[in-house]
Each structure stands twice: as structure tokens, then as C-alpha cells.
Symmetry: C2
Subunit: 248 residues, 2 copies
């Protein structure tokens, strides 16, 4: 059960459109609007939604906040400043976890967002169970409406099936095996011996180890090891060719 | 050491302005711009920055991505789609942790953001150590430039001193002590006894316990307990007054 996004008295229809975009980015689809000042289906709103205008068309519109939240079990109110009300104040991350937990219990949630300039009125906040405040730079914490919706929606989306924090993209390229790597190291050492790279014999094992570490760290693919063989081969061949015809 | 935000060939100066706003919201202050199409100090850009235009004025501008990242130790490239390059791909949350860790090691980081329509070119991505991809609704994952900057900057800010996930705001109102509560329960029980609320004497302890639980759960302040005393008192007095003058 996804939470509803509830815009209270939004001033600019363009911001309703950008809100839809932010919602759909994070797979939220239920928009409710209370007493919008402008037409939420204006050309500006549709253009600003960048293809997420299905949310504008399916939006439910209400006159009063009370009506917009009537079917909900838990309501969160986003505010940028302390309202000195006796209510829990949570981060968007915590709100997302709570909303997921409520959904498991069959409870439907909604999040209130206030008008652009002023934010929610205290009467709207008092209808909510919980206040949500985005932790931001205290010296510059005014968020644009769609940015605030984005952060709340983003945290909700992240709190679902978590994405792998790190993945490697290699496309169709299989990773090199240790055998591939050792083959390359052998090739390289042979050529380095041959060209006199290891001037001091004592340092040879350490230097070779450092070189090996460097390439090990690079997490190479089969194709990349092939490329490295080619590079060494070409460098050597060019040197030999140059030696064969010094006038070149 | 804060990471630099690096916009590569941004198309609209307005988006450079909204990027500054998103950066400053999250306490990022170092903007670099590579080959902007429009004047990054245009009136549109300044207006869109909503007071964060100091970042526009202090922005460094470069012709090539290579020059913009020359002094950095670790570079992250934001992309919306898989580029099939052999690079780690991380979430913004993970990138934020890495950037914090690099900063502790004295390493300066930067994050590349591509042009609005097309995103980063593969040549730019290949200059980066790591790709950052925001986990979003796979059916609708195109983020506006400033929204993408906001999410990366937001995660960086959250990865610093973590905010309390839950706090209670009570302003200057001290929480009620158990003595305050018990005093109220005594008052309420007295009046309920008096008005005949407990019709079945057997059920009286259970009913009283349920009523107590309800108020305990509400985590009341001293002032709120005072208000509850007042409510009970007024209800009773009105009843008594009515009883005294039934013609009323």
C-alpha cells in the first residue's frame, strides 16, 4: 500500500506538475490536492510533469484537508521549522520505515505538503500524527515543493527492496581468471627482463610484486588482459623494429 | 573536505541556478561548470538559485572535463543508464559514505552531472573512478538535473552527523509527571462515579484501566493535563448548572 501525496493549497500549477514527476520517479502514484489556487490540469502543469501527467489526471481534489485525509490511518505533515506542537518529529528516512511498517499492518498513510511560500498552517499540522522535517543546512533550508516531495518519495522508494549499494557493470565481458592474469605477468616479466628494466637484481622481486598488485587491483576482464598483452607486444615489436632499422 | 559538484555542458542557465539551491540546501558550496551553453550568471540563473547565487558567483568554469577534475583524487559520474563500462556502480548513499571516507584520508572528490537531455558522454564517464546511479522507478527514471544533484547532495549531508530519526517537539512545555496523570485519573474517576458512568460495578476496574491507558499513551504535557482537568470540570459544572435550572 503506497502512501498518498497530499498538496495543501499549492499556489503554482507548474509545481503540481513537477511534484508528479518526482512522485513517479519514486513509484508513487496517488496525488491528492486541497484547494489549489490554479488549475492543476493547466498546460504548464502538464508540461512540467514531463510525461507523468497521468498523475495529474487521476488526482483527487478536495476543499478541506479534513476531507482529503478522511480515509487514511496515519498522516505525516512536512514542515521546515519547529511548530512547538506535542508531536513526534521524524526524518524522511524514519517516516519511510514507519509508512512501510504501517502498510504491512494494513494501514493507509498520507503525507501533507504545504503551500510554496508559507508551508503548512498549524491547523493542518495538528491533523497529522507525526511531523516530518528534512535534515538540511540550517542556514539555508527552504526546499522547493517538488524537491521536498522528491526527498520524501525517494526515501520511501529506497526503503523498499534495497538496491545493491555497489555493483560492477561489465556488460558481456567476463572477468579475467587468475590464470589469465598470471599469463600476462609472465609475458610482462619476460619482456621487462629482456629490455633490462630491472637494473638492480635485488629489487626485482619487490618491483615485480608491486606491478602485479597494481594490475590485480584493477579487477580486469578477459578482454582487458588481452589488450594488455597487445600493448606489451606492440611496444616490444616497435622497439625491435626501430632497432632493426635505426634510420626509421 | 566537501565534494565539488561538476556540471558538464549544462544547457539551461536556470538549471544551474536550481542546482545551486539544491547544493546549498545540503551545505555543498563548490560548483564547477564545464562548457556551459548559456551564461551561468544570467538573471534566470540568479532568480532560480533563490538566494544561493553566491555559488554561481564563486563557480569555476572550464573548457574540458579533464581540466575541471585535475586537482581531484576521486571522481564519481552520475548516469541514469548502464554504460557497460568496467566500473563499480554505486547508489548515492554508498557514494556519500565513500566520499566521507576519502575526505578523512585527505582525498578530494567530485561528482559529474551530464547535460539535461543526454546525460554524460561515455568519454566523461571513463574519466571517473565510479559510477553513481540513483535507484528509481525503472519505468520512469529520468531525473531533472537539479533533482539529481539534490539526491546526491542530500545523501552526502545525511551521511555526516546523523539527525535524530525521531524527536518530540514540546517547545517550552514540560512533560506531565506520573503524579500529574494520577491526579487527573483520580479527578476523572470521581466525576465518573458521581455521574453514574460505571453502570456495572464489575467492569469498573477494567474500564478505568482502559481509560488510563488511553491517556498514558498520549504522552501528555503538564499544560495538557491542566486542560483535561478543565474539560472535566466544565462538563460537570454545566451538567450541575443545567440540573439546578432545568428551564435553562
Amino acid at each position: 500500500m503506497k502512501p498518498a501525496v497530499i498538496l495543501i493549497r499549492p499556489q503554482l500549477s507548474e509545481n503540481i506538475g513537477t511534484t508528479c514527476r518526482a512522485m513517479l520517479n519514486c513509484d508513487l502514484t496517488e496525488l491528492r490536492i486541497v484547494a489549489p489556487r490554479e488549475n492543476w490540469l493547466s498546460d504548464k502543469a502538464v508540461a512540467a510533469s514531463s510525461g507523468a501527467d497521468a498523475l495529474l489526471h487521476s488526482a483527487q481534489v478536495f476543499e478541506r484537508t479534513e476531507d482529503a485525509i478522511a480515509d487514511l490511518h496515519r498522516v505525516y505533515a512536512t514542515t521546515g521549522r519547529n511548530r512547538y506542537m506535542v508531536k513526534p518529529v521524524v526524518t524522511p528516512r524514519r517516516a519511510a520505515e514507519e509508512i512501510r511498517a504501517h502498510a504491512k499492518d494494513g494501514l493507509k498513510c498520507g503525507v501533507l505538503f504545504g503551500p510554496e511560500r508559507t508551508g503548512l498552517e498549524n491547523d493542518d499540522v495538528s491533523l497529522a500524527d507525526t511531523v516530518v522535517t528534512v535534515p538540511l543546512n540550517p542556514d539555508y533550508c527552504s526546499l522547493n515543493l517538488a524537491q521536498c516531495v522528491l526527498i520524501v518519495a525517494y526515501e520511501w522508494f529506497q526503503s523498499g527492496e534495497p538496491a545493491e549499494p555497489v555493483a560492477m557493470t561489465k556488460g558481456a565481458q567476463p572477468p579475467a581468471s587468475k590464470k589469465d592474469l598470471v599469463g600476462f605477468f609472465d609475458h610482462l616479466r619476460r619482456e621487462l627482463d629482456d629490455c633490462g628494466f630491472f637494473r638492480v637484481d635485488d629489487k626485482r622481486p619487490t618491483m615485480m610484486r608491486n606491478i602485479r598488485n597494481m594490475f590485480e587491483r584493477a579487477d580486469l576482464t578477459v578482454q582487458e588482459v588481452r589488450t594488455l598483452h597487445g600493448i606489451v607486444h606492440e611496444l616490444v615489436t616497435h622497439r625491435q623494429r626501430k632497432a632493426a632499422s635505426p634510420q626509421d
